[in-house]
Amino acid sequence: METQSEERIEIGRETESGAGISGTKFDAIVEGINIFRTFKMGEVEVRALRGVTVSIRRGEFVAIMGPSGSGKTTLLNQLGILDTPTSGKVIIDSIDTSTLSDREKGKFRLYNLGYVFQDYALLPELTASENVYISLMMQGKSKAEYESSAAEILTAVGLGDRLSQLPSKMSGGQQQRVSIARALAHSPRVLFADEPCANLDSQTSKEVLDLFKKFNTELGQTIVMVTHEDWHAAYTDRVIRLKDGMLEQ
């Protein structure tokens, strides 16, 4: 735990002394300011985001919705610093991520952010437990620490009896729960989920969303989730709607 908090303070301190902190909203944990993202596909330029400004409060459970091609996943990638905006900036917990190098961004993600992908994105050669503790291992935690943390979080998502199971031997719902456990194992500041229930049936989707809600209400976990379904959005506190790369008025 000590290493993690030291790391967070270190990155925070570095950036606090730097420029570009908006500091406009006291409780904002994620701020996207005037984000543009343009992709080049051969000769054609696709403007996926066209000046999006969003703010997500600490402890908030937010859904990003919109029709296909509206820029939902692109926005999530910018906020989750998986991608770099063409212009604009993303500030997470007062840290201007545009000032971070790729290496620093990697480190920042390791300690501060968690991700749940649509297709679970588990490493097939690692067991449930190993998938969960790989990032804790990377943080330099001891074997006892990362193994017990992984067991604890997997038990919390209802997979306490499947620690040594490989992803290939699990159902979609179970794999997604491992993925959630992996995203939450290091107690991230923000959890980003990109259509986490897209490949799941309604019953399993409900279980996954219940889990998100549980971590949000019980632990105050900030969650940003992209979804297509209105009933998924019903679990969230607020919906950010996008259309054609802009916020829908």
């Binding site: 990638n77 998986l82 991608d83 290496r103 990697g106 480190k107 920042f108 993600r109 390791l110 300690y111 991700y115 992908f117 994105a121 490493l123 097939p124 050669e125 690692l126 190993e130 790989i134 990032s135 291992m137 990377m138 943080q139 330099g140 490989l166 992996r182």
Partner: protein, 401 residues
């Protein structure tokens, strides 16, 4: 630093343990073959060298050769010196030889070659020429006017330079030999071949005949004394012992006569280096392709690893470690295959080559050298594709097909 190495080892280990077994087995199998190929030629070359050396010692020089002092033509009181040398316990035989360049003539053909005047009994204690007769017999003590020809002189019998020979002399034929202006006819008593063309380009007559032709009868002279020692004796030690015994003549070990062999060895060494370079290049390409295919298949996984904060260097190192493990396994299996399989097989069933039957000789130092080179090839062959891919952007790794 340590935790990064730990993660790299962890990922590499899991990938090998739980990854595609077929790819692992195939890669290790190919690397095993490459290692064998890398050491095989060296082992063959070492085998040929050993065979050449053996031929030289067994059929020409013996282990040690005594030559006249500087600026002297002959060794004086040769039999007394022989007795002195034979007093050493490790010496099993000595042969005092007279030698001269001779001009040979048979029918219309002429050629020049070295002629040795030997005591057949003494010679048989030093060299095994007797056992190499292709036709006829070796000299015996009372023989006069008889000659033994190497097949490069007689011609026929598969001589390598048949056109330069006398063109098919047979046992019983008479050849004319001129030494230092004296010409004498000799009846061919035997034709031999040691398979080493340098030794096969000589002729042997009795000491008495040679003394007569050189005009040095009853003077107990020799131009060289070949000394045979017991198996496993260090020639350098024998040389020292002979010097301390009071032998004032030049004492040389057989190695000093192996100059031509070093030349051949050097030439073959160059060929070996070229083959090694090609072998390594093949190893590099195979490792590159295998790792590249492996990595391309894991593109998304690499993206996910990067997304959750696993450092790029850690990811690259995990692939390099895998390649090193493959190379390590290939080297170990290749070494076992050579040491306990191929080499013992060729010892039990020597390979017939023009210089005789050879067995492979595995030099451990060479094997270590090849292992290091293979390791380097595998490191480079894995770093490049791993770096190229891990360096790509996250979006490209995770979402692009």
């Amino acid at each position: 630093m340590l935790e990064k190495a730990k993660v790299s080892f962890f990922l590499a280990g899991r990938s090998i343990r739980r990854g595609n077994k077929g790819i692992t087995i195939f890669t290790i199998f190919v690397l095993t073959l490459i290692f064998v190929q890398l050491v095989l030629f060296s082992s063959m070359l070492a085998g040929v060298t050993v065979q050449f050396n053996k031929l030289l010692v067994d059929f020409q020089t013996g282990n040690v050769v005594i030559e006249p002092k500087e600026e002297e033509r002959y060794i004086e009181a040769a039999s007394a010196l022989q007795k002195k040398i034979e007093s050493l316990s490790e010496v099993t035989g000595t042969s005092a030889r007279l030698k001269a360049s001779g001009a040979f003539r048979y029918k219309e053909k002429e050629m020049g070659a070295t002629v040795y005047g030997v005591d057949p009994t003494d010679e048989s204690f030093v060299t095994g020429l007797e056992s190499t007769m292709l036709s006829g017999e070796f000299l015996s003590k009372p023989d006069r006017g008889e000659i033994i020809l190497g097949r490069e002189i007689s011609g026929g019998f598969g001589a390598l330079m048949d056109s330069r020979s006398l063109g098919g002399v047979e046992v019983g034929d008479t050849v004319e030999v001129t030494i230092q202006g004296r010409t004498k006819e000799f009846r061919v008593k035997g034709i031999y071949s040691t398979l080493y063309f340098m030794i096969d380009s000589a002729a042997y007559i009795s000491r008495a005949d040679m003394e007569e032709m050189l005009g040095v009868q009853d003077r107990d002279l020799a131009q060289e004394i070949a000394v045979r020692t017991t198996e496993g004796t260090d020639e350098a030690v024998t040389r020292e012992k002979l010097i301390s015994l009071g032998v004032r003549e030049n004492v040389r070990t057989w190695r000093e006569f192996a100059g031509l062999l070093s030349l051949i060895e050097g030439t073959l060494g160059m060929v070996r280096n070229i083959m090694n370079a090609i072998g390594l290049l093949i190893a590099f390409v195979i490792i590159f392709v295998v790792i590249y295919v492996n990595i391309v298949n894991k593109k998304r996984q690499i993206g996910v690893q990067k997304a959750i904060g696993i450092e790029q260097n850690v990811i690259i190192a995990s692939f390099v470690l895998q390649a090193m493990l493959y190379a390590g396994a290939g080297v170990i299996l290749g070494y076992i295959l050579m040491h306990y399989g191929i080499v013992p097989y060729t010892v039990a069933n020597p390979v017939q080559v023009p210089v005789g039957a050879i067995s492979l000789e595995l030099d451990d130092l060479e094997a270590v050298n090849r292992a290091v080179l293979l390791f380097m090839a595998s490191v480079i062959g894995s770093v490049i594709p791993a770096y190229k891919l891990a360096n790509k952007g996250l979006l490209e790794l995770i979402w692009e097909k």
